[in-house]
């Protein structure tokens, strides 16, 4: 889902609890170039917003890199 929203991104997602609802994502994307961290995180969160809204995900830790 993140990769689809950010073409060319390298995405690694770790399921922290084994239930699939508390996730940790490391995202490296060319789109992050020149953006502040907060804007990078906004992009990632926007990409998965649907899953938050429908309750599939409760928590997502994000680490971004360019």
């Amino acid at each position: 889902m993140i990769a689809a929203a950010l073409p060319g991104a390298e995405v690694e997602v770790i399921d922290e609890t084994g239930n699939g609802d508390h996730l940790r994502a490391t995202v490296k994307a060319p789109q992050f170039e020149g953006l502040s961290r907060i804007d990078q995180h906004r992009l990632v969160k926007a990409a998965v917003k649907e899953r938050f809204d429908d309750g599939t995900i409760h928590a997502l830790s994000v680490k971004t890199a360019t």
């Binding site: 961290r37 907060i38 995180h41 906004r42 830790s61 994000v62 680490k63």
Partner: protein, 127 residues
């Protein structure tokens, strides 16, 4: 839509406090692990900050911050009127020294509070 009165109050607070933390609980008694981590970072930087407990009005405040900063989760740290981030970003920026720079303070020499358990005495041994 966010309550306009609450929104203008929040904007006023963000404008009036150079460093402002919206958190769950208080710095003395955080009610959420993420909020606690941000408090620990700010305390270790020895920086003065305002703190607002969002728990009494969680949903209305969420609507406000969504409108003003496009951010839904707490904690949220604002520096000079701008949202810096939540716990993940604050810790990352603390570790890299960027947060101290943004706040205009010295990076402490001590390791980050979350870097690992404090030094402990050696385990007891049973002879």
């Amino acid at each position: 839509m966010a309550d306009p009165e609450l929104k203008s109050k929040v904007e006023e607070l963000i404008g009036a406090n150079p460093v402002l933390l919206f958190m769950k609980g208080t710095p003395e008694m955080p009610r959420c692990g993420f909020s606690m981590r941000v408090v620990q970072v700010l305390d270790s930087l020895d920086v003065e900050y305002g703190a607002i407990d969002v728990l009494p009005a969680l949903q209305p405040l969420r609507e406000v911050t969504t409108e003003i900063a496009d951010w839904q989760t707490f904690p949220q740290l604002y520096v000079n009127g701008e949202l810096v981030g939540g716990a993940d970003i604050v810790e990352e920026m603390f570790d890299s020294g960027e947060l101290a720079e943004a706040l205009g303070v010295e990076q402490p020499e001590a390791p980050a509070p979350t870097a690992g358990p404090p030094a402990q005495s050696p385990p007891l041994q049973i002879e």
